[in-house]
């Protein structure tokens, strides 16, 4: 990971300003909602490929996406998508598709009607709109459900309808706000494969996600956001390294946490052990959870411990962020 600069994601050299027409550019962009900060002084240059916006709730991911698509306006700064600004919707949205998080659809519409209708608004004639709709539904594996009402769809199916709608006009830039939400594991894998295919064909995909291992799997570049600031951006490998280094915290509910703590500290991968306030549990931070669980299996019979439960406490994104933005080795703004 590197510090936030004007460098592009995925490690390429920043082209001169005149060539920025081929990039997605944020120049000193700030957005305030009244006195509340949305994002502050964001400078980004995003190249083709999959760039993930990663950050906890309220970090500014959706704000950045809404700014890029003109749904909201920056308080200051300038945004350019392939040389077009969000003030030129009639040109921009021929190139850009946005799969937002808004889970709403026109009442009573089927998946096919929904997609075809908005393609007609784009200006496509009916036969072309119909063909593009068919292709888009096929890409997200919704052909069989195409003529069912969206209101009867599951959350995952609705997510796929929105995705189909955003890619139906074959945009060059695809902005996806939490696109994997609500999808089952198989559908996630299929959609990630689709994203990969689109990126390999030269598209720009800007994806927000909470799920780090998915970000790791699919992204070329990562932009890490925290409290409205870009705290780091760079190649996904940097983030992967940081995640691997990040200690996992596990809570063991047991009858003799002090004895367990003493025993666990004999092993180097135990970073920290802290007894729970009710003295009936132990928080353990470890860098190697697999080794830790093997160790625990040995220690329990040795110490004759009565174990109530063993569960990871904070293997969520927030914990990783806290680690990344505060540790010495992690990226800083």
């Amino acid at each position: 990971m590197r510090e936030s600069t004007n460098l592009p994601a995925n490690g390429t050299v920043s082209p001169p300003a005149a060539a920025s027409d081929g990039l997605i550019v944020f120049e000193d962009v700030s957005k305030f909602y009244g006195e509340i900060l949305g994002v502050n002084r964001v400078n980004l240059r995003i190249a083709p490929g999959i760039t993930s916006l990663v950050g906890p709730n309220g970090s500014g991911k959706t704000t950045l996406m809404n700014l890029m698509t003109g749904l909201i306006r920056p308080t200051s700064g300038r945004i350019s998508v392939l040389g077009l600004t969000p003030d030129e919707p009639e040109e921009l949205f021929r190139k850009l598709g946005y799969c937002s998080q808004f889970d709403s659809f026109p009442r009573g519409a089927t998946a096919r009607e929904f997609i075809e209708f908005y393609l007609r608004v784009h200006g496509w004639a009916k036969p072309e709109a119909r063909e593009l709709t068919r292709a888009a539904l096929e890409r997200v594996a919704l052909t069989e459900a195409a003529d069912r009402r969206i209101s009867a769809f599951s959350k995952g199916m609705r997510q796929r309808v929105r995705l189909a709608q955003s890619i139906a006009h074959n945009p060059s830039v695809l902005v996806l706000d939490e696109p994997l939400n609500g999808l089952d594991p198989m559908a996630r894998a299929e959609i990630i494969r689709l994203f990969r295919e689109l990126a390999d064909a030269g598209m720009y995909l800007i994806v927000s996600s909470h799920i780090l291992h998915e970000v790791d799997m699919m992204s070329d570049g990562v932009v890490l956001l925290h409290n409205g600031y870009v705290v780091a951006e760079g190649e996904v490998g940097g983030v992967r390294d940081e995640i691997e280094e990040h200690p996992i915290q596990i809570l063991i509910r047991c009858d003799r946490p002090q004895a367990l703590a003493a025993r666990l500290f004999e092993h180097e991968h135990t970073v920290e052990a802290r007894i729970h306030d009710d003295r009936q549990g132990l928080f353990v931070k470890t860098r190697r959870p697999d080794d830790f669980y093997l160790l625990l299996n040995r220690v329990i019979p040795e110490l004759h411990l009565r174990i109530e439960s063993v569960a990871p406490v904070d293997d969520d994104l927030n914990a990783v962020y806290q680690y990344l933005i505060t540790s010495d080795g992690g990226p800083t703004r």
């Binding site: 027409d21 784009h122 074959n170 295919e197």
Partner: protein, 298 residues
């Protein structure tokens, strides 16, 4: 999941964008008309078939139901006295009920919901994410509202007049409409209804864009239009109802307290209303070009 053979290869996205922009500019009018029709297609369906349309049907249908009941029970013959009496009676029904109240609130309901309803339904962003000029969006939505209100309140106007006249004096009314001044009056009232929808429609579209809760400004506007008969002549002209009243075929008595003013001639009233509508729509289009979408709190 299928493969994606049809994905456009983005070798020089910027050049493609510029080429497309140039092509779009050349084909603008044809494109805008296609887009307007596409928007009309969905919006008309919403205006006529959605759950929100039920209130519109209720508003537009209420005088027809009342006059049908009136016709059924034959209650009015003695009170009306003559065709002239019916002319006065219908002028009062039209001016007091249909125009001032039903058309007003019907237009408020339809036009304020054109954008406001989409914000509540959280679906406006689909339009904002389409490559469509916001002015085209305003035009498409406004036309759809106009088609809905003109159709329904046109039927209300024509149906009410015919029901009233034919239920009381069938033979005389037939002569009045087919040989006398009846057809002219009918078209006159219909024209005023159309103009009311045009004028009020544009005003309420704008109100729906600016106010999170448009009921209050709509109520204030309703009050202003209602007290128009009490206002001095100069202020009367700052209203839609004054121009509409100037155009009705049979002037409605506004009561003993009314401040009298010369009606505005049709050659000023009609273009004046159209110019007012045009200006309001331009304001709406300018506003919507800068409009942000934040569904929070809606």
């Amino acid at each position: 999941m299928s493969s994606t053979p049809e994905i456009v290869n983005q070798t020089d996205a910027a050049n493609t964008a510029r080429t497309d922009a140039a092509r779009t500019a050349k084909a603008s009018w044809a494109l805008w008309i296609r887009q307007t029709f596409a928007i009309l297609n969905l919006e008309i369906r919403k205006n006529f078939l959605s759950r929100r349309a039920l209130l519109l049907y209720l508003i537009a249908g209420s005088p027809l139901v009342m006059l049908t009941l009136f016709a059924f029970f034959r209650m009015g013959r003695d009170n009306a006295g003559s065709l002239n009496g019916l002319n006065t009676a219908f002028a009062a029904i039209y001016g007091g009920l249909i125009l001032r109240t039903l058309v007003f609130f019907g237009c408020a309901w339809v036009f304020m919901n054109l954008f406001r309803g989409e914000v509540i339904d959280r679906s406006l962003h689909y339009y904002f994410l389409a490559p469509v000029r916001r002015e085209v969006l305003v035009a498409g939505k406004y036309l759809s509202g106009l088609i809905a209100t003109v159709t329904l309140f046109g039927i209300t106007t024509v149906g009410s007049m015919l029901l009233l006249y034919f239920s009381v004096y069938p033979a005389e009314s037939a002569r009045f409409f087919f040989e006398g001044a009846g057809a002219g009056q009918l078209l006159g009232y219909l024209g005023v209804t159309v103009l009311a929808c045009i004028g009020y429609g544009s005003a309420f579209l704008l109100v729906g864009l600016f106010f999170r809760n448009p009921i209050i400004p709509a109520g204030l506007l309703y009050g202003w239009e209602w007290i128009n008969f009490l206002l001095p002549p100069v202020l009367k002209k700052v209203s839609v109802i004054h121009y509409l009243h100037s155009l009705v075929p049979v002037p409605m008595s506004e009561g003993p307290l009314a401040v009298l003013a010369e009606p505005t001639p049709a050659w000023i009233a009609v273009p004046g209303l159209l110019v007012f509508t045009g200006l309001v729509l331009v304001a709406a289009a300018l506003h919507i070009r800068r409009m942000e979408i934040s569904y929070a709190g809606d």
